[in-house]
């Protein structure tokens, strides 16, 4: 699919929350939300996989530092369905990113890059961003 929405100069600070709402395609295989400084420096690569890379209904998270991927972390909760509207809320502090999922689930991912602000967001895959809020 075509490259999804990219946002620059967001300037999201620790304690602030980024809320992203969008539509998951009816035939969705996978989608991605990347957050960080730019495309090579991601404090969070958030990749729900419906059916992709041998994974079924798994969220894969990772970081990217200077273009190099870190160690993957997998979440077994998967409150996503193809053909639905989903909303996730992401905030961060010095230690962790906190990701709130639909249906009250949440998890943390270590803040490996030690960024002072999240300035970059990019969506990709079978997900169309409809609404973004900074709170």
């Amino acid at each position: 699919s075509a490259q999804g929405l990219v946002a620059n100069n967001l300037n999201l600070k620790p304690g602030e929350c980024l809320r992203v709402r969008g539509e998951v395609a009816p035939d969705a295989k996978s989608f991605v939300l990347n957050l960080g400084k730019d495309s090579n420096n991601l404090c969070l690569h958030f990749n729900p996989r419906f059916d992709a890379h041998g994974d079924v209904n798994v969220i894969v998270c990772n970081s990217k530092d200077g273009g190099a991927w870190g160690t993957e972390q997998r979440e077994s909760v998967f409150p996503f369905q193809p053909g639905s509207v989903v909303e996730v809320c992401i905030s961060f502090d010095q230690a962790d990113l906190s990701i709130k999922l639909p249906d009250g689930y949440s998890f943390k991912f270590p803040n490996r890059l030690d960024l002072e602000a999240i300035s970059y967001m990019a969506a990709d895959g079978d997900f169309k961003v409809k609404c973004v809020a900074f709170e």
Binding site: A2, N8, N9, R19, V132, F134
Partner: protein, 130 residues
């Protein structure tokens, strides 16, 4: 200079409505909301200027087009505001916070907008595409 908040690869088609909420800085002289194909190809340049008590709209296709000015400046520095932009075939309709509607012609004629840029004394708090 303050870096521009920008969205690329937006998928705004004819008939779509973009709602933008945010806060105007207390010391704002003005701000800009740009919509178009990229920073140098703007179907709509929306530029409230508090120091001139006017709203300037224009288009840009490498160089600026002819300005259109409105004196309906119904908002002020320090306030939380919402703007709604409806993208029609021939024109944009910009609904101001008090409900007044400004129209501006779609001079560049595109049927798709992929770029949103915000700069100056306006901090965006949300945007929504319907």
């Amino acid at each position: 200079a303050q870096e521009e908040f920008e969205i690329k690869n937006m998928d705004m088609k004819l008939g779509a409505t973009l709602k933008i909420k945010g806060k105007i800085a207390n010391d704002a002289v003005g701000f800009v909301i740009n919509l178009g194909q990229g920073a140098e190809k703007l179907n709509l340049h929306f530029n409230p200027r508090f120091n001139e008590s006017t709203i300037v709209c224009n288009s840009r296709d490498g160089s600026w087009g002819q300005e259109q000015r409105s004196n309906h400046l119904c908002f002020s520095p320090g306030s939380e505001v919402k703007f709604t932009v409806t993208f029609e075939n021939k024109q944009f309709k910009v609904t101001l916070p008090d409900g007044h509607v400004l129209t501006f012609p779609n001079r560049l004629g595109h049927s798709h907008l992929s770029y949103l840029g915000v700069k100056g004394g306006f901090k965006i708090s949300s945007f929504k595409l319907d």
